[in-house]
C-alpha cells in the first residue's frame, strides 16, 4: 500500500533558502540545491519549493535554482509561489517541477485550475489553501494569510477539486507557527469533502504531532513542515522510524 509522505518545504527568496538552518556537514545551508540534496538523501518523500520573491530578477534566479535542483534530485518536486497564469505553470514545469501549487492565483482567477488541469493533467495541479477560523467558520485567506477573502473553506476546496486540482495542501493559519500540532478539526472537515490526497500543513512541533495526525486522520496522505526540519528539531529518518513503530506505513 501507499505510504504516508513526509514533505519538507523550502521558502526561497532571491535564489536562497530563507530561515536559518543548523545542519551539520552542510557547507551552505541557504543553498536550495544543497539543502534539497540533503533532504532527498535523508528520507524526504517529496520536496516543496516556495518562491517568495517579489522581483523579476528574483524570479529568474528561482527558475535557475529550480533547474539545478531538478537535475540533481530525483524525487517529486512541487513548486509554488507566484503562480498566476498558465505561462507560470509552463515556466516551472520546464525547469523540472512535477507539480505546481496555486494559492492566490486561483483565488484571483478561478479558471486557472481548470485550464492548467486540462493542459497538464489533474495530478500536476496542487491547490494550496491558507485558512483560518472567523466567527466559528473556516475561511479562505489570500496573500500569504494576510487578507480575508470572505470565502468559506469547504465550498472553495470542493470547487477547486471539481475543476481539476489533484491534491490539496491545507495550511491552517490558526495552528501555523504555534507548534502544538496540526489542525485536526480543520483537516477532518476537508478530508470529508474531497477524494484527492490531502496534505496537512501548519502546526507540527514534534514527532508525536505526526503520529497523532496519521492515527487520528487516516485519510490524510502527507505531513508538510518547514522550520522543525530546517532547525533539526525533527529529523526525518528518526520521525519515519517512529511512525513505523506506530504501524504507520512509511518509506524507509
Amino acid at each position: 500500500m501507499i505510504t504516508k509522505r513526509i514533505i519538507p518545504c523550502l521558502d526561497v527568496r532571491d535564489g536562497r533558502v530563507v530561515k536559518g538552518t543548523n545542519f551539520q556537514g552542510l557547507q551552505d545551508v541557504a543553498s536550495p540545491v544543497e539543502l534539497g540534496k540533503f533532504y532527498s538523501q535523508n528520507g524526504a518523500d517529496e520536496l516543496v519549493f516556495y518562491d517568495i520573491t517579489a522581483s523579476a530578477e528574483g524570479r529568474k534566479l528561482f527558475t535557475d535554482i529550480l533547474t539545478r535542483v531538478a537535475s540533481t534530485i530525483f524525487i517529486p518536486l512541487t513548486v509554488g509561489g507566484g503562480i498566476h497564469t498558465l505561462e507560470d505553470f509552463d515556466r516551472v514545469l520546464k525547469c523540472g517541477a512535477d507539480k505546481v501549487s496555486v494559492n492566490s492565483g486561483a483565488i484571483r482567477n478561478p479558471q486557472l485550475i481548470a485550464a492548467a488541469a486540462r493542459r497538464y493533467g489533474d495530478q500536476c495541479v496542487v491547490l494550496s489553501v491558507d485558512a483560518k477560523r472567523v466567527d466559528g467558520h473556516f475561511r479562505v485567506f489570500a496573500k500569504g494569510g494576510r487578507e480575508d477573502t470572505g470565502m468559506e473553506l469547504l465550498p472553495w476546496i470542493k470547487r477547486c477539486v471539481a475543476n481539476g486540482a489533484g491534491e490539496v495542501v491545507l495550511n491552517s493559519i490558526d495552528t501555523d507557527g504555534v507548534k502544538q500540532g496540526f489542525d485536526l478539526e480543520m483537516l477532518e472537515a476537508v478530508c470529508g469533502v474531497v477524494d484527492v490526497p490531502v496534505i496537512a500543513s501548519g502546526g507540527a512541533g514534534c514527532e508525536e504531532d505526526f503520529v497523532t495526525l496519521f492515527h487520528r486522520l487516516p485519510a490524510v496522505d502527507a505531513g508538510l513542515a518547514a522550520s522543525i526540519f530546517h532547525f533539526g528539531q525533527v529529523q526525518i529518518p528518526h520521525l519515519k522510524h517512529r511512525l513505523q513503530e506506530e504501524n504507520i506505513l512509511v518509506r524507509l
Binding site: M1, I2, T3, R5, S40, D45, A70, S71, T72, F74, I75, P76, L93, K94, C95, G96, D98, G121, D122, Q123, G166, E167, D195, V196, P197, D221, R251
Partner: protein, 200 residues
C-alpha cells in the same frame, strides 16, 4: 548511449537528468536516424493514452519503436510509455497500442476497492515476480502516479504493487521492459533500476 524518444508528450527534463547523473550519455530526439544510433531506447509518456498513441503514429515513431524492439535492442517504456507497449487501452473508449506486449490497459475505477483514492499516487512497494531488471528491487519503494493499469500481461509481468489489488508495476519480456512507476522520481531505488537498464 541512451536515446529518449521525443514524440511531443511530456517533460523529459528529469528523465534526461537522471541518466546524466549516472554518467550515461543520453540524448532526446524525434529523429529515427538519430534514435537508431542509440543502443538503449526509452519510451516516456504522461497524459492521455489516445493523444499519445496518435502522436506516436503521426510522427511515424510507432513502426520505428516496433522495429527496434524486434531487433533485440533494450527498450524501456515508462508510465504511459509502458502502457503504450500493450495491445489496447480502455482509457476513454478503446484505442490500439503498439501491441509489442500482450495485455490491455484498464481503469482502476471499479477494479480497486472503493475508498482508495484515484490516481494511485505516491510511494508504493515493488513485489518482484520474474525477470532480471527488477530482481534486486524486491521490496523497494518507488513513485507512482496513474489511474489506469495493465492487465492480462501474465507472460511479461515482472513486478506488482499492492493497491487494494495487485497492480502491474513492471513488465519484462526479452529485451522489452516497462515501468508503470517513475524510476526518475524514485530516489536511489529508481536510479538503480535505470543504471541496470543501461548495463543490459
Amino acid at each position: 548511449m541512451v536515446g529518449i524518444i521525443d514524440y511531443g508528450v511530456g517533460n523529459l527534463f528529469s528523465l534526461q537528468s537522471s541518466f546524466r547523473s549516472l554518467g550515461e550519455s543520453v540524448f532526446v530526439s524525434s529523429s529515427r536516424e538519430e534514435l537508431n544510433q542509440a543502443d538503449h531506447l526509452v519510451l516516456p509518456g504522461v497524459g492521455a493514452f489516445a493523444d499519445a498513441a496518435k502522436k506516436l503514429t503521426q510522427t511515424g515513431l510507432d513502426t520505428f519503436v516496433k522495429d527496434q524492439a524486434a531487433t533485440g535492442k533494450p527498450l524501456l517504456g515508462i508510465c504511459l510509455g509502458m502502457q503504450l507497449l500493450f495491445e489496447k487501452s480502455y482509457e476513454y473508449g478503446q484505442h490500439p497500442g503498439l501491441g509489442i506486449l500482450k495485455g490491455q490497459v484498464v481503469p482502476m475505477e471499479g477494479r480497486i476497492p472503493s475508498g482508495l483514492k484515484i490516481p494511485h499516487m505516491g510511494w508504493n512497494q515493488l513485489q518482484w515476480q520474474q525477470g532480471n531488471l527488477l530482481r534486486e528491487s524486491q521490496g523497494q519503494y518507488v513513485y507512482f502516479v496513474h489511474s489506469y493499469f495493465a492487465q492480462g500481461c501474465d507472460d511479461s509481468l515482472a513486478a506488482v504493487t499492492e493497491y487494494g489489488i495487485p497492480i502491474t508495476a513492471a513488465v519484462e519480456k526479452g529485451n522489452v521492459f516497462g515501468c508503470q512507476f517513475h524510476p526518475e522520481k524514485s530516489g536511489a531505488a529508481g536510479l538503480e533500476i535505470l543504471r541496470r537498464f543501461c548495463k543490459l
